[in-house]
Amino acid sequence: MNKVVSGADEAIRDIEDGMTLMLGGFGLCGIPENCIAALVRKGVKNLTCISNNAGVDDFGIGLMLKTRQVKKMISSYVGENAEFERQLLSGELEVELIPQGTLATRCLAAAYGMPAVFVRAGVGTEVAEGKEVRNFDGVDYLLEHAFNAPFSIVKAWKADTHGNLVFRKTTRNFNQPMAMAGKIVIAEVEELVPAGALDPDQIHVPGIYVHRVFKGENYEKRIEQRTVRAKS
């Protein structure tokens, strides 16, 4: 059950032009920095990226926007990015905006083999346009479909060689459901340990969901909003 690959380039070797990728992270927190760099190196184009955010101008998915590798973003919030705005207004980039909980739940649906789920978010808004509405016990819900992406790329804190993953603090975010949702799941981690080194009660994503893991390098972990308080 050895899921270990040599690094980001090997991990993304079969990602091709026009594919749909799920990318974990929330803002710049817990993003797969090494794989994004490798995708930029490889130069694959016309990608559809399912990711809660689109990075900033010079970090995260922003790096792939700069090189015009992204055809479409499926996200809940895409502020903080001037290049993004430029491409969107010029029509170079398509954007599909989805409520954040719906985005997460469509990952969960894929992870748990549910073809579609009913959610209340967006009922009565433009998000509901063209979608089936169904009433349960007096409340309207939208039918939302599971994502069906060939690849998920996530960042975890630790993995063992079987691909069992553990996340740290708020980096779990979309990384956990996406790590269970893609047909092929790639996880880059800060620490790679032998099978048996992780507490079996404390694994966030079982290795059965994960296909390739590698120890990432040179994590920058950029902070988007550095807020502090004075020492009193």
């Binding site: 909980g101 959610v119 978010a121 808004t125």
Partner: protein, 219 residues
Amino acid sequence: MLDKTGIAKRIAQEVRDGYYVNLGIGIPTLVANYIPQGMNVVLQSENGMLGMGPFPFEGEEDPDLINAGKQTITEIPGTVYFDSAMSFGMIRAGKVDLTILGAMEVSENGDIANWKIPGKMVKGMGGAMDLVAAAKNIIVAMQHVNKAGESKLLPACTLPLTGVRCVKKIVTELAVLDVVPGVGFVLLERAPGISVEQIKNATLGKLIIEGEIPEMKIN
């Protein structure tokens, strides 16, 4: 008239012991500062955390620990981390007692618009649509009128909606109002020094004024 701090202080009075609360970006974030000492309240951050603590001391920022506004924060005793699917699961299941968020417009039946201005840049709804669709108790913190001086309390929203019939209460620099679908904006309290007439003039939607309207009490 209240300043932002005043609005936050007034909203803090709506928080009850034992509440799990989700605070939006802006004025709502300030509410955390005015929750009475000794009251047990846990803050939920929809990026995957219960028990949000204050900003870190300088030099102690952890890039792996942010809130939904992408600000560096800290944990406290009892903090739990979880993934986004569980986070919105608990929101949808009604486990969050109170959601406080900003708005561009609120209609007299409780519709809210706060995510998009057509023609201008669209940043996305983030978790707002999920929160307003699910929370049992939604309080809007906002200015009574926009920068052009137009009322934000309307018969019907003009901007794209975030959610329908969901806002329960509004706190502005002028007033506290309940929102009762089919009835309208029910005026509950005036801000210090503000007259009922001033509130009337700033409210385009149907305003219900019954009896004497007391002035807010704020420390």
